[in-house]
C-alpha cells in the first residue's frame, strides 16, 4: 500500500462562506451515500448524439461515484463522465478534428478516454499522439519540497522492462542511501528481495524499487561496473534531496570546454543553473557540452533562462523562445486561463523560482552548443534545443533520439481522475515545432528517427561516469568539436531507457514490466 496522499481542499474558503461546519457533507456529493447511476442514461438528461457536442460544462463533475466531501462532484453517471470527456476533447484537444466520434455506449471513462485521440501516425510510422494519460487526482494534486523525493537516490535505466529485463544504474544522488552504499553508474541490479531482476516477479521488484514509505529496507544484490562478483546491500528509503545540476566543470585538457549535467527543470534548478553558468563564465569557456540525456522537462521558464544564458542577449533580444499554439478554435485566447496567448521570451532575468526574481542572468554568448541526449530528453529539455535553433544557435546533438514532445497539457480533474490530453504545442522563434518524432543525430541508423541535427549517434556508455571525458557521448562531443562529423564513432545511438511497454494509464501496472521511474509520483519514490 502506498503512503496516503491527500487531496487539496481549495474549496475550503467557499465552504466557510456558506457557513457549513461539517466535513465531507454539503455541496454536491454527500458523504459516500450518493446514488450511483449506471447504464445508458445521463443524469443531466443528455444522450449521445452523433456529431453533436454539448458544452463540457454541462457534464463536468457529474460523477458515477462522487468523492465524499469534495464539492467538485455531484451525483451523475458513467455516461455523464464519458460525455464530459467527449465534449472536453472536442473543445480543447489539439487535434480535435481528427478524433473519431465514437458512441460511448457502455464504455467506462477508463476504456473510452484512450479512444479520444487522433489515430494518425507520423511520417516515421509512430503514433502521432504518444502522450494520452490519466492519473489519480489525489496524486496529481500533491506537493513536495522542490527536489525532495522519497527513495534511495538511485536512477535506474531500463534497457528492457519485460523479461528478460536489463538495467543499469545511470547515476545516484549525492548524500543519498545509494551514494552511501557506494553504488555508482554502470552497476546492475541483480536481485531485489530475492527476486531476479531479469525474470523475477515484477510485483516484488517494483515494491523494492518504490517502497511505500520512508524507513523501509529492501535487500539488493548489485554487480558493480567491471566486477565479476556481486555484493548484497540493504537500502533504506529516505527523503532524498535531488541536485538537478551536477558535474559543473571545465574539462581537463580542453581549457575552454565547459560541461554540466542538467537532470530536471525543477524550481531549485534555477539557482543552480545560474551558479553553474557563472562558474563556466568565470572559467572563460568558449564551448559548452550540456548533458540533458536524463532530463524529462519541467518548468519551461527555466528552459528559457538556460537558453538565454547559453546564447546571450544579442542572439535573443526581442525574440521568442517558445510560442504555444492551441487548436483552431482557440487562436488567440488561452482557453484554460482565458488570457491572451503570449510568447515565452528568452528570459534575461531570473524568474524567482529559487531565488530573487529580476536578477540579471549571466551569459556565455555561444553560437554553438553540444547537447547529449537520449529518449529521456523530453519536453522542456527539447524546448531548449528547439528554442536555440530558432535563433540560429547551432545545436550539435550527441546521443540518441529525444522523446518528441513539443506538447503540453492543462491536466483536468473529473470525478477523481486527472486527464492528460494534448492541448497545445510549442513552436520556436522561427515558427517550428514539428518534432513529434524527436530530434536525432544526423547519422542515426534506426528506422524511427526525428528531425535530423548535426552530430553523432552514440550509445549511452555506462562504463564511465557522467562528466568523464572518456564517457562515450562526451568523448564524441569533444571529438566532434575538433574533427567535425568525420570524428563521429560508428553510429550506435541506442535507446537505453526505451521500455517495451506502452500504456495509456499512468496508474496501472503492466504484468511483468518493471518500471524505470515511479509512474505515480517520482517526487515520492525515486528509488
Amino acid at each position: 500500500m502506498r503512503l496516503s496522499i491527500l487531496r487539496r481542499y481549495g474549496f475550503t474558503i467557499a465552504v466557510m462562506a456558506l457557513g457549513l461546519t461539517g466535513c465531507g457533507g454539503g455541496g454536491g456529493g454527500g458523504d459516500g451515500g450518493a446514488p450511483i447511476i449506471r447504464g445508458g442514461g445521463s443524469s443531466s438528461g443528455s444522450m449521445y448524439s452523433a456529431g453533436v457536442y454539448l458544452p463540457s460544462s454541462q457534464f463536468k463533475g457529474r460523477c458515477s461515484a462522487p468523492r465524499a466531501g469534495d464539492l467538485r462532484d455531484q451525483p451523475g453517471s458513467i455516461l455523464d463522465e464519458d460525455l464530459w470527456l467527449r465534449s472536453w476533447t472536442n473543445e480543447l484537444y489539439l487535434w480535435f478534428s481528427e478524433v473519431p466520434d465514437i458512441n460511448p455506449g457502455s464504455s467506462t471513462p477508463a476504456t473510452y478516454f484512450p479512444l479520444l485521440k487522433t489515430p494518425a501516425i507520423t511520417a516515421s510510422g509512430a503514433a502521432k499522439d504518444k502522450f494520452h494519460f490519466t492519473a489519480d487526482t489525489a496524486e496529481y494534486e500533491s506537493f513536495s519540497q522542490s527536489g525532495v523525493q522519497a527513495g534511495y537516490g538511485l536512477d535506474v535505466e531500463l534497457l528492457a522492462a519485460s523479461p528478460p529485463r536489463r538495467n543499469f544504474i545511470a547515476f545516484t544522488e549525492p548524500n543519498s542511501p545509494a551514494a552511501t552504499a557506494n553504488i555508482q553508474r554502470g552497476a546492475k541490479i541483480v536481485t531485489i528481495d530475492g527476486a531476479d531482476f531479469a525474470n523475477g516477479s515484477a510485483t516484488v521488484l517494483n515494491a523494492g524499487l518504490f517502497p511505500a514509505k520512508t524507513g523501509e529496507t529492501h535487500t539488493f544484490v548489485i554487480q558493480d561496473a567491471g566486477a565479476s562478483t556481486t555484493r548484497t546491500i540493504a537500502l533504506t528509503s529516505a527523503n532524498v534531496t535531488e541536485t538537478p545540476v551536477k558535474n559543473v566543470k571545465t574539462l581537463p585538457g580542453s581549457g575552454t570546454v565547459g560541461y554540466m549535467q542538467f537532470d530536471d527543470h525543477i524550481a531549485t534548478a534555477e539557482a543552480q543553473l545560474i551558479a553553474a553558468v557563472n562558474t563556466l563564465k568565470t572559467a572563460g569557456v568558449t564551448d559548452l557540452v550540456l548533458d540533458i540525456r536524463y532530463n524529462g522537462g519541467g518548468y519551461l521558464d527555466i528552459a528559457s533562462e538556460l537558453a538565454y544564458m547559453i546564447a546571450g542577449s544579442t542572439a535573443t533580444a526581442g525574440r521568442t523562445f517558445d510560442q504555444i499554439q492551441f487548436n483552431s478554435k482557440n487562436p488567440t485566447i488561452n482557453p484554460v486561463t482565458n488570457q491572451p496567448i503570449t510568447p515565452t521570451p528568452f528570459w534575461n532575468r531570473s524568474q524567482g523560482f529559487s531565488g530573487p526574481s529580476g536578477v540579471a542572468l549571466p551569459t556565455l554568448n555561444l553560437s554553438k552548443v553540444y547537447v547529449l541526449t537520449s529518449p529521456g530528453t523530453c519536453s522542456a529539455s527539447e524546448a531548449v534545443i528547439n528554442g536555440l535553433r530558432g535563433v540560429n544557435v547551432q545545436v550539435i546533438q550527441i546521443g540518441s533520439t529525444t522523446c518528441g514532445k513539443p506538447y503540453g497539457f492543462y491536466a483536468q480533474d473529473n470525478c477523481g481522475t486527472t486527464y492528460f490530453s494534448i492541448e497545445f504545442r510549442g513552436v520556436n522563434n522561427a515558427g517550428f515545432g514539428d518534432y513529434t518524432d524527436g530530434f536525432s543525430p544526423i547519422n542515426t541508423t534506426a528506422t524511427l528517427k526525428g528531425v535530423l541535427l548535426p552530430g553523432c549517434s552514440v550509445a549511452d556508455d555506462f562504463t564511465h561516469a557522467l562528466g568523464d571525458p572518456l564517457e562515450g557521448r562526451l568523448a564524441a562531443a569533444l571529438a566532434y568539436r575538433t574533427g567535425g562529423a568525420a570524428a563521429c564513432p560508428t553510429p550506435s545511438g541506442f535507446a537505453p531507457n526505451h521500455v517495451t511497454i506502452q500504456s495509456t494509464q499512468s496508474d496501472t501496472e503492466t504484468a511483468d514490466a518493471v518500471i524505470s521511474k515511479s509512474p505515480l509520483r517520482e517526487n515520492r519514490w525515486n528509488r
Binding site: 465531507g24 506537493f143 524529462g296 529539455s381 514532445k405 509512474p519 509520483r521
Partner: protein
C-alpha cells in the same frame, strides 16, 4: 486509494486552520529577521509539515528532514508524475511552485513561517530557530 476518514479529518483541520490563519495574515516587512531551524526534532518537523500542509490546503507534503535548517526559504512544488518510460507527464509544467520564508517570532528563538503567496504567518510550535 481513497481514505474517507482521513479526508474528513483533514477537511475539519483545514477549516479550523483557515479561521486561525486568517487573523494572522500580514505582509512581511523589511525588518523581519530570517532564521533557520536549530536542532530539528520529530516534533519540529511535524510542526513544519503541518504548517505547510495547511497553507497549501493539502494534507500531506514531502519535506526533507533538514528542511529550513540551512536556508530560510522553503520551496514546494507540485508532484512530478511520470509515464512508464520514465518521462514526466507534465514536461511543460503549468503549475507554479510556492515559496515560504522563516522569520524570527516575537521572542528570540521562536519561528514564524510566512507563505509568500498569501502572507499568512504561522507560528511553528515545538521549534527553535536561530539567526541564519
Amino acid at each position: 486509494m481513497r481514505n474517507t476518514s482521513c479526508r474528513r479529518a483533514c477537511f475539519v483541520a483545514t477549516l479550523v486552520v483557515c479561521v486561525t490563519l486568517s487573523s494572522c495574515a500580514s505582509s512581511s516587512t523589511p525588518g523581519d529577521k530570517p532564521v533557520i531551524i536549530e536542532n530539528p526534532t520529530a516534533k519540529s518537523r511535524l510542526a513544519l509539515q503541518n504548517a505547510v500542509c495547511k497553507s497549501l490546503g493539502v494534507a500531506y507534503v514531502v519535506l526533507a528532514d533538514d528542511a529550513l535548517t540551512h536556508e530560510s526559504t522553503l520551496i514546494v512544488e507540485p508532484a512530478r508524475i511520470r509515464d512508464f518510460e520514465g518521462n514526466r507527464l507534465q514536461g511543460r509544467e503549468t503549475r507554479m511552485p510556492q515559496q515560504f520564508h522563516l522569520i524570527q517570532g516575537k521572542k528570540k528563538g521562536t519561528c514564524v513561517l510566512i507563505d509568500d503567496r498569501t502572507s499568512v504567518h504561522t507560528v511553528l510550535v515545538d521549534t527553535t530557530c536561530k539567526k541564519k
